[in-house]
């Protein structure tokens, strides 16, 4: 695919007067699928200049993933890709072309950070391993993340997010005790890793700035995600206990679960961890001070715990006619932790997410306006922002190669004619 012409101006709104946290940080981004792009989306949202390197011959998985505008597949029509690649620029390079290597080394001189999430060894196979990058840019930070990390017998283990949930033990912790375990929704681990990745990358850049010495960060997604169940691992290590799935129960609360509300597949989640919360529930359910909430079996926490099935049954009967949102407000006003089980439409209507500006809409040339999730962090001085839609395939070839790394017209045209930019 030929490069889209650009008018030579950088994409994106002008930086705020104070700049963004990462204004001036240049990122050469080889990441694909979800875990890498979510990481570099944070960087782009907070001001880094992120250039994604893609293959026009073999476009990445997310470009081929639903949902598509009007349900029609197309390389620039995936809202999944568009959401995770906002604020980035895109170039296309055929990495197997003999001239790609030199071109990428020129990009590496420009970059402060190179990111990739290929199977270990891929960057080396292109002669773009850390040693080669460091030779042209001694302060460079190379961030590599893979399923299993570099080295070891399983370094090349194939797989993706839903597999990793199983490998890391989260599937084992999710489900009903009388049923088979289920995966946490989607490629869940892909969305745990990026925040660790952002912290580590910026720590690497900080040390590079202080010492002038680059660093190669190797992040195993398995190892990172294990920090989301570290106490479970310790429980086995010291107590020999194999924790497993327990539905919605919690050892520190009763009642604790999800209860039906009015409508199709509508639910409320709640839990009472203290006497005060239980008393709030009693007052809400039985304001006149009589009825099942005052059953002596439920008078103490241990009593509620040992009669939890009965408690759940009675509470479910009581919640069923309620509208979930109204019940959340009613419980909350009585000091009971409760929340609507939001589906994806509810998320767009959720008053708090709206207050935070969680969804931002960007206008994409092929998709039109589309929603993408903004950062969960509100900065007092140097906020991030999502300003430009994800790049079309190869959209910024000319801009990046000429304006950012200074190729002449002749050099650029020759690369294009030679089929390097594909």
């Amino acid at each position: 695919m030929a490069a889209q012409p650009t008018d030579g101006k950088p994409p994106g709104g002008a930086p705020s007067e104070d700049g963004k946290p990462l204004t001036g940080v240049n990122v050469l981004d080889f990441c694909w699928v979800a875990v890498g792009p979510m990481t570099t989306k944070y960087l782009a949202e907070y001001g880094a200049t992120v250039v994604r390197v893609e293959s026009a011959k073999r476009p990445g998985t997310l470009r081929r993933a639903a949902p598509f505008k009007d349900g029609v597949p197309g390389i620039n029509r995936s809202a999944y890709f568009a959401s995770y690649n906002a604020n980035k620029m895109g170039i296309t390079v055929d990495m197997r072309h003999p001239r790609a290597h030199e071109l990428m080394l020129r990009m590496a001189k420009w970059a402060h950070l190179v990111t990739e999430n290929f199977t270990p060894g891929t960057m080396e196979s292109w002669e773009l391993g850390f040693e080669q990058l460091k030779a042209v840019n001694p302060g460079i930070v190379l961030f590599s993340t893979s399923m299993m990390g570099r080295g070891g017998p399983m370094e090349r283990q194939p797989g993706f997010g839903p597999v990793l949930s199983s490998l890391v033990g989260l599937t084992n912790l999710t489900g009903w005790p009388d049923r088979d375990p289920v995966n946490p929704y989607g490629a869940y681990t892909d969305f745990i890793v990026p925040r660790f990745a952002v912290a580590a990358i910026l720590a690497g850049l900080d040390r590079s700035r202080r010492t002038g010495e680059g660093v190669h960060i190797d992040m195993s997604q398995l190892e990172t995600t294990l920090h989301f169940s570290a106490p479970v691992l310790l429980d086995y290590a010291v107590n020999g206990r194999e924790q497993t799935r327990m539905g919605n129960r919690d050892p520190g609360a009763a009642p604790h679960g999800v209860y039906p509300c009015a409508g199709d597949d509508r639910w409320i989640a709640l839990g009472c961890f203290s006497d005060a919360q239980w008393e709030g529930l009693q007052r809400t359910v039985a304001p006149d001070g009589t009825g099942w909430p005052y059953n002596p079996d439920f008078a103490t926490f241990l009593g509620r715990k040992s009669h939890e099935d009965e408690l759940d049954r009675l509470l479910s009967g009581w919640t069923t006619p309620w509208e979930a949102g109204a019940l959340m407000e009613t419980f909350q006003s009585a000091g009971v932790p409760a929340g609507v089980v939001n589906d994806c439409r509810d998320l767009f209507d959720d008053a708090q997410l709206q207050h935070r500006g969680h969804f931002q809409w960007l206008d994409h040339p092929e998709i039109g306006p589309y929603a993408t999730d903004a950062s969960e962090m509100v900065f007092s001085l140097s906020p991030g922002s999502l300003d430009t839609p994800a790049p079309l395939l190869g959209e910024h070839n000319r801009h990046v190669l000429q304006n950012l790394i200074g190729l002449s017209d002749d050099e650029y045209n020759s690369l294009e004619e030679d089929g390097v930019l594909e």
Binding site: P21, S83, P153, L202, R207, S220, L226, G339
Partner: protein, 421 residues
């Protein structure tokens, strides 16, 4: 002002962090501590409420034996400080003057009420990066709501998509809500730090755990936005396209395995599995006759899935998890274990990379195997990791109050007797 910890090569060795969080934010400071920062956990006298969260070492529910605390306070130092006391606040202000970062997870408004809001702390130290981690954020309609893990995972949209379709939505049986916010807090701190490096200015960041959870939903929100469809949970299945779904978790003889039937470019995996089933004496001739190579991702219909379920289910039930995992490695089958805690303790890859770290707990006469670093250097060097076992309550009071703030022995004793520390 470094913490004299194990790794001078660790990435954040020069920096000092004050950590006022409880279980709602402990992970933020843990991430920076693992990266080498000197993180001082500030606990109320008597210890952090996070120390009451089990499980416990030897099932002995004491604050210094909480494994939850151990997991998320390792590498940190601990001092005690009562923020409700004037002298406690004065000590905190002295610490803030020398700190680079501060994390807190109190209910919105609490620190302002104590006279320790960002406005005040920024006067003491304009370069301070202060991060608040709360369920919903500092303001807005839910900001004063009571939250818990299940409430947050529900409001963040995770639960609706997880669980069996004929039952209520479920959460993960280990709380993740505040961990998502804690990890976001660490990322936020480093973003603000990067800004401080160029501008010389600190700032305040308000992190919402609900938003952090809503960002774990892959393309589910986009499916509503673009297609107007509400994605549903589907138990052991995974949607591949439209009405098509494939089963991903299967019971075996002694547990569960993860296996997705796929064709197209990974048809080899399905063929190898069918060949193995045939060796077992199962009749899979009909399945072998399918042209798997032409079945792309998303092309496996419910009818085909139903046809597969019986023989594959029988095949998996005939083998242990270990047999299936090893056999799949040998035969190039894309099958993976549904790992249990014991399987993770004995994992060849984690072993080879030296992930677990033995830490001495001299106070218990025990050595404990901890999950280790979440990053390494590409050449295998340690640039992050574990170097200090989790602190006892106020273990570093003397070291910090006397050694670093310069209080005298009698002053420390007075503060102790007065209940300030």
């Amino acid at each position: 002002m470094t913490g004299a910890q194990g790794g001078i090569d660790f990435l954040l060795a020069p920096y000092r962090v004050l950590d006022l969080t409880d279980e709602r934010g402990l992970l933020a400071g843990k991430i920076l501590a693992d990266l080498g920062a000197d993180v001082v956990q500030i606990e109320p006298p008597g210890g952090s409420p996070a120390r009451n969260i089990g499980p416990f070492y030897g099932d002995d529910p004491r604050p210094e034996k909480s494994l939850y605390w151990w997991a998320y306070a390792a590498n940190k130092r601990s001092i005690t400080l009562d923020l409700e006391r004037t002298d406690g606040r004065a000590l905190l202000e002295k610490l803030v003057a020398e700190a680079d970062f501060l994390f807190e997870s109190y209910d919105p408004g609490y620190l302002e009420k104590m006279g320790l809001g960002y406005e005040r702390l920024a006067v003491i130290n304009p370069k301070l990066v202060m991060v608040s981690i709360t369920a919903f954020g500092q303001d807005g309609p839910y900001s004063n709501y009571q939250a818990s893990d299940i409430v947050g995972m529900a409001l963040g949209g995770f639960m609706y998509l997880t669980g069996d379709e004929d039952r209520a939505p479920i959460r993960i049986s280990f709380p993740h809500f505040y961990l998502h916010g804690g990890a976001a807090g660490a990322a936020a701190a480093m973003l603000a730090h990067t800004y401080r490096v160029t501008s010389g200015q600190g700032q305040y960041i308000d992190v919402s755990c609900q938003q952090a959870v809503a960002k774990t939903l892959a393309h589910a929100p986009q499916i509503w936005d673009i297609e107007g469809a509400i994605l549903k949970r589907m138990g052991v299945y995974r949607q591949t396209s439209g009405e098509n779904r494939v089963r991903i978790n299967w019971p075996c003889k002694d547990g569960f395995v993860n296996y997705m039937v796929q064709g197209g470019s990974v048809a080899y995996s399905t063929r190898a599995l069918l060949a193995w089933a045939k060796e077992d004496g199962l009749d899979v001739a009909d399945l072998e006759a399918i042209n798997w190579e032409d079945l792309g991702y998303g092309a496996i219909t419910p009818e085909l899935m139903a046809q597969l379920g019986g023989p594959l289910g029988d095949f998996f039930k005939g083998h242990t998890r270990a047999e299936l995992v090893q056999g799949s490695l040998d035969r190039r089958i894309l099958l993976f274990p549904v790992a249990t805690p014991s399987a993770l303790q004995d994992h060849s890859q984690l072993e080879a990379r030296g992930f677990f770290k033995e830490m001495d707990h001299p106070e218990l006469g025990a050595t404990v195997r901890y999950p280790g670093a979440f990053i390494k250097s590409g050449d295998g060097r340690d640039i992050a990791g574990l170097y200090r076992r989790p602190p006892l309550i106020g273990e570093h009071n003397v070291e910090i109050y006397q050694g670093e703030l310069g209080l005298s022995g009698p002053e420390i004793e007075s503060l102790k007797r007065n209940g300030v520390i």
